[in-house]
């Protein structure tokens, strides 16, 4: 995290803590942040994503739009264009329009969360943050307007994919890892899962090198080319923190004539990955993935905030794991992939099930644990 981000985070957290304290001083104990239920017709859904071209974020938008359609609530999309500043200013502009906002945010950086939460709270809206927030920013400390923080376990993702890679390359192989952005908690937890799985079940596998590839296929391609030059055919497996980087890595190994000799695992099961698995590309090069979907994350997040807005749930009365939540993630192999793809064929049907079952009990992504997700220092990057 840059110094500027750290300062922003520190100032924002202190400011919010101060506001929360003030609220506590002026309210009766126990109802800090409680508000009267809002009318459905006064609501607008706000769906904030990091960009609109990444398949995962595009799916985030799809989930918001389908839920908005089902509930008859207009949806405003915020394209952060990869910038925290753009993200925050666009959200604040929508909040200023006057309608009560029910907000889902896939934050660009952890440090954005306190500022966004504060803005939504001041405007009387309700927000659920997905994937990234500072550990010290706890929804229960802020009040009902910060309904929940939600994510899938990065550690489980890393363990799941590393296990599949171990099975494919054998117990004594060399592998390389391409994480995302170095200060991304999502990337950090996935790397921690990879290292824990290596230490626990695959001690003979050597992690030859780790190169941050910033979620960027082009950088993953270049880093892979450098690592191929360095290690040659010592590399038997490639672990990437998401499928976008896997596309770049596979391209580099393909150019080196090694694609059919190396196995790949990653997170996300993006459409090009599905195509590659179905086609058996590179002698069935992809051996492991995880299943979780952008439309599921956004619909769960938005629906949780919506229930709080209309008074169906009172966040302050929810158990801790429903304020800081981790949802299930599934390990996918070429053998069982088909059973997961059915969800993508009927997004509207899945959203219907979500509305019927509630945000914490909908397959294949039920609530499984409370956060925050802690990285064992032994496995930190």
């Amino acid at each position: 995290m840059s110094l500027r981000k750290k300062l922003t985070l520190a100032v924002s957290t202190v400011a919010i803590a101060g506001l929360a304290g003030l609220a506590g001083c002026t309210s009766t104990a126990g109802d800090a942040g409680a508000t009267a239920p809002l009318k459905k017709e006064d609501l607008v859904f706000v769906c904030s994503v990091i960009n609109t071209t990444n398949p995962y974020f595009a799916a985030n938008i799809e989930g918001c739009e389908v839920l908005g359609e089902k509930l008859g609530i207009p949806v405003e999309i915020v394209d952060a264009e990869g910038s925290s500043q753009v993200e925050i200013s666009k959200i604040q502009a929508i909040l200023a329009k006057g309608k009560k906002a029910v907000v889902f945010v896939n934050t660009v950086a952890s440090s954005d969360a306190p500022v966004i939460v504060d803005s939504v709270k001041q405007a009387g809206g309700f927000v659920t943050i997905w994937w990234n927030k500072p550990d010290e920013l706890n929804p229960a400390d802020i009040g009902n307007n910060f309904v929940a923080f939600q994510k899938h376990s990065g550690i489980d993702s890393g363990k799941c994919t590393m296990n599949e890679l171990g099975k494919a390359v054998g117990p004594d192989a060399g592998i390389i890892a391409l994480p995302g952005v170095q200060d991304s908690t999502t990337s950090q937890t996935r790397v921690a899962g990879l290292k824990e799985e290596l230490a626990t079940n695959w001690p003979g596998i050597e992690l030859l090198d780790t190169r941050y590839s910033n979620w960027d296929p082009q950088l993953a391609y270049q880093n892979s080319k450098d690592l191929i030059a360095k290690y040659g055919d010592q590399i038997k497996g490639v672990w990437t923190a998401d499928d976008g980087m896997q596309i770049g890595a596979m391209q580099a190994f393909n150019e080196a004539g090694l694609l059919d000799k190396v196995k790949f695992v990653s997170d996300g099961l993006y459409p090009p990955t599905i195509d590659s698995i179905l086609a058996g590309e590179g002698n069935n090069a992809i051996v492991g993935e995880t299943f979780h979907r952008g439309y599921m994350a956004s619909a769960i997040g938005l629906y949780t905030a919506y229930l709080a807005a209309i008074g169906e749930i009172n966040p302050s009365e929810l158990p801790a794991e429903k304020r800081d939540s981790m949802f299930a993630i599934s390990c996918v192999t070429p053998a069982n992939m088909e059973e997961f793809l059915k969800w993508d064929d009927d997004v509207a049907g899945w959203v219907d099930t979500l509305i019927a079952n509630g945000p914490w009990d909908t397959a294949p992504v039920p609530l499984v644990a409370g956060g925050p997700e802690k990285i064992d220092p032994k496995y930190a990057q």
């Binding site: 071209t53 450098d226 030059a229 360095k230 040659g232």
Partner: protein
């Protein structure tokens, strides 16, 4: 205080001597600058080869040249622009716009018609149009090139975002395009051959044509160039068009390398290319520099990045070590020119 007055003849003789001395110094500098940069490059290559013998392998050389190809192509345009005392920041936006246009007009995984030669011509024309727009706004509206091209960067990104939409990541269906980009011909990657040929043409044009001499003259002193009847405005516009077209070509080649694209295909190229041009010795103030220097500057950065990975430097320290080595290399290269550099505020 005593003063000495020189006769006109004496004064003329002194001036002649000064000009001759300055000319000799200038010639010496023009030779020693690229040589010292080449020396720094050789030192880095030797060190990295000792640290890991694989660094000097043919496979890694091909890898290095492959990675240097796109920065070289973009660097040609950037060098021309910097030589006239301007800057072009639109590189990444132009690459995004042309890359997305190229993939969507080619046979791709989203379906749609393969438009054949138009899949090449339209994105290249888009690069030309974006370059023309930058050139016109810079010269006619007199907006600083820094601001115009910054805006054009986002115009390009905007075009790419709109064209890309929210459908799935588009991949080229025709494997031949991807295979061509990765193919080695006569020991070198095809993409590098393209970069090398363009670099040679640009170097010859800069050295031996009126266009090249006019570029240097405008960068040296635009007022004098204008008063001597040179079509300065037209020349500047042409240079921005060349830069736009080359960024456009780089966008297409990047898509061919990757086999597909999103709208971030150009990410990171600007901040490889501009520093490389300047590290090579082309002055940001214009009028001094050349293509060979850009070639050396880009190779220096590429060798550094690749060498640190092969040397096993931890990624946590890579940026710091890379920056420190670069500073040392630049000081070593520029030490003899510190007198001249001092006036570049």
């Amino acid at each position: 205080m005593m003063t000495t007055t020189l006769s006109p003849e004496q004064s003329s003789g002194v001036n002649e001597k000064l000009i001759q001395t300055a000319s000799r110094r200038s010639l010496l500098k023009s030779l020693t600058e690229p040589l010292s940069l080449l020396g720094a490059l050789v030192v880095l290559i030797v060190i990295f080869s000792i640290l890991n013998p694989r660094f000097a392998s043919l496979e890694n050389l091909q890898n290095l040249l492959n990675q240097a190809s796109l920065p070289l192509i973009i660097g040609i345009g950037a060098t021309f622009v910097i030589l006239i005392g301007s800057i072009d920041l639109s590189v990444e936006g132009v690459m995004a716009a042309t890359g997305v246009t190229f993939v969507l007009m080619s046979a791709n995984s989203r379906g749609g018609a393969d438009l054949g030669i138009w899949a090449w011509l339209v994105p290249l024309a888009l690069g030309v149009v974006l370059g023309l727009a930058s050139g016109l706004l810079y010269t006619k509206a007199r907006i600083p090139s820094f601001l115009v091209t910054l805006g054009m960067w986002f115009v390009g990104l905007g075009i790419a975002t709109v064209l890309y939409g929210t459908d799935a990541y588009p991949e080229l269906s025709n494997d031949a395009l991807t295979v061509w980009a990765a193919t080695i011909t006569a020991g070198l990657p095809n993409v590098f051959w393209v970069a090398l040929i363009l670099m040679i043409i640009a170097a010859l044009a800069l050295r031996y044509t009126r266009f090249g001499r006019a570029t240097l003259a405008i960068g040296n002193n635009e007022d004098i160039a204008r008063s001597s009847g040179m079509p300065v405005t037209k020349h500047k516009i042409v240079i921005f068009i060349i830069a736009g077209a080359l960024s456009g070509l780089a966008g297409i080649l990047a898509v061919m390398q990757m086999g597909g694209t999103s709208n971030n295909i150009g990410d990171g190229y600007l901040f490889i290319t501009i520093p490389a041009v300047v590290i090579g010795g082309t002055a940001l103030s214009g009028g001094k520099g050349g293509m060979l220097r850009t070639l050396l500057g880009i190779m220096l950065l590429m060798v550094l990045k690749n060498g640190l990975i092969l040397a096993g430097v931890s990624p946590n320290f890579e940026d710091m070590v890379s920056g420190a080595i670069l500073v040392v290399a630049i000081i070593a290269v520029a030490w003899s020119q510190r007198g001249r550099l001092r006036i570049e505020k």
